[in-house]
Amino acid sequence: MELAGAEEWVLMAVVALDEDAYGVSIHDRLSAAGAETSLGAIYTSLERLEQKELVTSRLGEASRSRGGRRKRMYRATPRGRKVLRQTQAARERLLELRPRTS
């Protein structure tokens, strides 16, 4: 299965955050990793990942700092983790194929 660039980043963040993955925490994690992405791009990627059944979501609790609105918590499915591993393995294999300059 193909994963677009932003989708891979977002899926990695969801896997890394485990139980605490939602819009803002994913945004923070990506910014901390030096891959700053807009919230709009994150939502689009999450929507696509959910359509591909690579992540699942559920509504969390509301809080005052969110103006009384609930969070949507995301979690990677076993299939999502597998696709991520496959993508990363493919990338590593590709890197091994580059010519050695030393």
């Binding site: 939602y22 819009g23 803002v24 945004h27 807009s38 919230l39 709009g40 791009a41 939502y43 689009t44 929507e47 509504l59 509301a62 700092s65 969110r66 103006g67 609105r69 609930r70 969070k71 949507r72």
Partner: protein, 154 residues
């Protein structure tokens, strides 16, 4: 003395509500609100409000281009052009951002135009699906394979 503004810009919030998918509206609004509160504490309410407006633009443009693009079956190239227009608008707003400034108003007008376009697309898709339902089915009938008939040549 005026109390500091602790709420995100109202017009931007209304715009967000108008163009977001209803199933994702609550969490997107909540996320943007959370970021606004955090930024307001760090950099002041005015700057946080401007960032909030920009984020709303980004979310709305992505939502509208992806939904209208899907409905219109626009090519990837057209979607990319729409995306570039969105980025340029955001850059202009970043340079001259203020709620009363003309680039913001132009941006809002364009977003509203995209919204109207999307509604027209959905209405025409609905009407054409109704028309398709009224037409009699012309496919192969049960028990009769859809193959050309061959006359017996005895």
């Amino acid at each position: 003395m005026n109390a500091p503004r602790t709420r995100p810009p109202r017009f931007a919030t209304l715009l967000l509500r108008a163009c977001c998918t209803p199933s994702y509206r609550e969490e997107i609004e909540g996320d943007l609100h959370e970021l606004f509160e955090r930024r307001a504490a760090r950099m002041g309410a005015a700057r946080a409000g401007r960032r909030y407006t920009l984020e709303v633009w980004g979310v709305c443009l992505r939502q509208l281009t992806s939904r209208a693009g899907g409905a219109l079956r626009l090519s990837r190239r057209v979607r990319i052009v729409l995306g570039i227009v969105g980025v340029l608008l955001t850059m202009v707003a970043l340079l001259f951002s203020s709620d009363q400034h003309w680039p913001t108003i132009v941006g809002y007008v364009i977003l509203c135009g995209l919204g109207v376009l999307e509604v027209l697309v959905y209405v025409s898709a609905f009407l054409s699906s109704l028309k398709a339902l009224r037409q009699p089915v012309r496919g192969p009938q049960p028990g009769r394979p859809d193959a050309p008939r061959v006359r017996d040549s005895k």
